[in-house]
Symmetry: C2
Subunit: 298 residues, 2 copies
């Protein structure tokens, strides 16, 4: 669940005025390499048939992709020369402004839920509509942490895991040191926390210990848009698959989920927008996972 959007993107490598984007889009695309995916989002009547086809072509269930009169959510941003910073140039919520997600009946018993970055009350409302969850969690951002804190804390209480970046973990916990920040956040609800550190990888905190994963070292970063959401998609996708295979998620599964998350995030950066997923194969995913292993083993 999250946004499906059109993005305008400028990076040092080029620009695109209006391409498919949005958290739910990236999450669903990345997760679709691991398990069947159902998407919950809203688009306007300008949403292009070829974009619907891309999602449907990955086997993504679109029953929960509401289509309403008006324009699809539009975001535009420009990246700095080193691509570590980006500036938002425009945010037109359009049909997203009145989004009140209502789950199709066939969605309610799904066992795994990934809540993309969106207003905490909406995340809460979606979770409340589900009745057989084995694993639920999601993402949030500085805006909700700062201005919707009470609502966010209420929402987090029911999550099994939270994925946020390091500066957000510090903001949410009030602790600079990440080990102490993680301990505080875990007391808020999510027993598993993944702190994302961009190109430097991620740290997983779960079951009283932590796992430090470095970032995959890309030859070229073309466009980082969506990399964090692809991380989330690979993460929940792998966990769902593992849980389905052996009925539980153990320490090794959490760790591998972080690596698969990184793998999917790394592919995302290799081309503009969602382009890398048009031709990406499951074999390439496995190959990069093994490469990750080979580059970190000692």
């Amino acid at each position: 669940m999250g946004s499906v959007a059109y993005d305008g993107i400028e990076t040092p490598h080029g620009r695109a005025d209006r391409i498919l984007g949005g958290a739910a889009t990236y999450i669903a695309l990345a997760a679709s390499y691991f398990v069947p995916v159902k998407i919950v989002a809203v688009v306007g009547d300008d949403f292009a048939p070829e974009d619907t086809e891309l999602l449907a072509g990955k086997g993504i269930d679109l029953e929960g992709l509401e289509r309403v009169p008006g324009k699809t959510f539009f975001w535009a941003g420009r990246y700095s020369a080193d691509m570590n910073d980006r500036e938002t140039l425009r945010t037109d919520l359009n049909v997203f402004a009145d989004f009140q997600p209502k789950l199709p009946e066939t969605y309610r018993s799904a066992p795994y839920l990934l809540l993309g970055n969106i207003q905490p009350a909406l995340q809460h409302g979606v979770r409340a509509q589900m009745n057989g969850l084995r694993l639920a969690g999601g993402d949030t951002m500085n805006y909700w942490i700062r201005d919707y804190r009470a609502e966010l804390l209420e929402t987090l209480r029911d999550w099994d895991f939270l994925l946020i970046n390091d500066s957000e973990a510090r903001m949410l916990s009030g602790e600079y040191n990440l080990r102490r920040a993680a301990a505080k956040i875990q007391e808020m609800g999510p027993r598993t926390l993944v702190v994302k550190r961009g190109e430097y990888g991620a740290i997983l905190f779960t079951n009283g210990c932590h796992f430090i994963a470095p970032g995959y070292l890309l030859e070229d970063v073309f466009d980082p848009t969506g990399a964090g959401d692809c991380f989330a998609g690979g993460f929940i996708g792998y966990l769902a698959g593992a849980n389905a295979r052996h009925g539980a998620v153990d320490q090794n599964d959490w760790r591998r989920a972080v690596i698969y998350g990184s793998v999917m995030g790394s592919f995302c950066c290799e081309q503009f927008g969602v382009d890398r997923f048009r031709k990406l194969t499951r074999d390439e995913v496995e190959k990069r996972y093994r490469e990750f292993k080979a580059c970190t083993d000692f």
Copy 2:
């Protein structure tokens, strides 16, 4: 080889007006946990007997620690609140200004050489005095890369390995992407390159492949001064030990050397100046290495 100094340090955790420091000090202390060490540096006649005793107590050979009339090199700096930046408050070269390292006869046949960050011509001169090197390398910094480029390139040509941080690797190579930066630097001479990324770990480039090591996640960072030099000391110390044990250095040795470097750097940050090394035991080093393994394995 490098500086032995007195440091004045301010961190958010406290301050020290005049404590033992200097690259060669940290390198020698860290390496002494792995192999016998000989130090090459210069101090003034103000160098305190208890500081000599600390080094001697670790079995460090002090024949090459020249003592001349005048004051020992003094550096003072202040760290930012998050300790990711530091400002130099004072640099008094003192006796270091005229340092022309001459190796004692007993040093010349040593098989391993670590050249701390110092003027490239001096590094070159020390290397030229040695006659049985199996492995030589060292550190440099932005100042030499920018203002002494020709001299530095001449010096690097003879090194087996170079340890520098990511911004310096970018400056030296003129490439932003670290994979491309590494390829260019390896063409300058050092077939092995370690790119240090502070708290985020390090990347090793050697034999046509790379190894990405995340940083150790400290509970408290008290004072980062010397952490990079302790990395270098642990790195060369482990390599020297491995080479002595099996007559060569293979891919696994290089990788483990990076981890032992990180281990020694992490201990360094736990107390002010060199204090952590007063009581650190080899068993603690091994324990942290195993912890590193446990926190990164998947």
